[in-house]
Symmetry: C2
Subunit: 323 residues, 2 copies
Amino acid sequence: MARIVLLLKPGGCGGMSEGFVVGLVERIAAREDGVLLFSLTPPRSSTSPEEAQRIADLTLARLEVLDLDGLVLYDIDDESDRNPAQRPFPYLPTMDPAAFLDEHLGRWRRPVVVYRCVGKYDEASMEEWLARQDPAGVLGVFVGASSRDKQRALELATAQKLRAEVNPALQLGGVAIPERHSRTGTEHQRMVAKQQVGVSFFVTQVVYDVSAAKSMLSDYFYACADAGLAPVPVIFTLSVCGSMKTVEFLEWLGVDVPRWLRNDLSHAQDPLAVSFDQCLSAAEELAAFARRIGTPHGFNVESVSNRRREIEASVELAARLSR
Amino acid sequence: MARIVLLLKPGGCGGMSEGFVVGLVERIAAREDGVLLFSLTPPRSSTSPEEAQRIADLTLARLEVLDLDGLVLYDIDDESDRNPAQRPFPYLPTMDPAAFLDEHLGRWRRPVVVYRCVGKYDEASMEEWLARQDPAGVLGVFVGASSRDKQRALELATAQKLRAEVNPALQLGGVAIPERHSRTGTEHQRMVAKQQVGVSFFVTQVVYDVSAAKSMLSDYFYACADAGLAPVPVIFTLSVCGSMKTVEFLEWLGVDVPRWLRNDLSHAQDPLAVSFDQCLSAAEELAAFARRIGTPHGFNVESVSNRRREIEASVELAARLSR
């Protein structure tokens, strides 16, 4: 382990803590309300370094007008084992988010939440990555396998243990899925269990079913009270959609879109405008509810499609949410 | 049939059309928005006529301050065959709503929607009741058996046929259940089918799951468009609850109470105040949604318990909704 711990000494980490606009880590540690994140999917693995840099620069230029607390970088895995239905957009391997951050997002001076589908990495590479991260600027979210049968190089519990050994100051987030709560009624127990092994914030799956998200939050709040824990920030992910193809993709990913909203979108002349308004009203309802019951919350804006209008609407949504 | 039709001649019907504040029938026929009803459960069958009159007078005195379009009189059936779980309040047979209306509600000068659990009545008594009703002042809602195996004296289809033959001007409402839509996704098809056999308005089961009610309404709206029908008024039933026992009774009746709301109620110092606010915000959301998609709507306030505070809060809710 020593070889790796050395890298954590001052001056290591490629200078990542210098010049950072800190805040996210402190806000999460203080369980503050109102954290705002914006999430990106790294470019496809087949993208050339020059093209990846062009995409990164374009994205950062779009985002620099926003007062974000941080970026989220997703780690995309082939989840076709989870859902036998045909994927509306084909699965194409994407760059490792950690590599995309290291190699192309040097200009970004704020914290980054890096997702890691732990089953994709072996123990040595995970350990090496953990050791290199500056906990002032990087936070992690470990994602377990998409199904029980999936082949994996590393188990979630092993990854959590590694982080506790190698870089215990690195803040770890957990994934929270309101739809799983609708099905099983036990997502709040999973959240409490994750918190007990060190998770200090949650990021939800994209929320279209606001009532389900409120139910999960409420059950989590009361489960924390029962366990003698203070609730940690729950960051709700919102995503606009500009076409039924995007709606179908969200559904394929496991997002419940209430029938009335699906009908609204499918009959709208401008579904993007309808979903934009819906995201704003969902944010308002979720924020009011979280404040009322006393659970810290925040928002994460995700663009699930690559279409320009949807990306621009996502940036606009984040701008509206930061007000 | 002639014997019965005779009773419909002017001057028949016990003078029911004289002095009526009409409006409900016309508003429903015109598919107007904003109908407001208040629903009552008749006293227990074992109640003496004097006590039943005292209850009726007390109730009408409470309601006369309200600008209601009409009353709803429920017909309570033993539904223990539908739900094997223990009923939170014991089932006690109640007076026939038609008899309660005839014998005790003479002072009430506005229209009344009379529910009829059709399986409880034989063909002759149903025919006789249908023939006696003045369609300017009485509307009917036929309720089918609570389960397939239930013994019944009359089938729903027979009752519908009788009404078409005996008193075709009598407006007939149908029951609409958002929870059934959540389970099967086909309640809108049932609604369209009921409309095609003559139903001119719907009254929902008590709504606590607003998103489910919106989904049912939305699917109904688009199913009407597909069938070339204009949607008829959908009257949403709202009910306050002042204790978890009432919540459990609502759940026993088949009402879905979202987890977050159930938690709110069970942890509230004053659940009645919480549910009152929730009913108002549900009404606002449902009305805005119905107006936006273009489906006529109204409200029905029901008090599911006999407790004085809950009844008074129901009257106050109706007063707020009529503004």
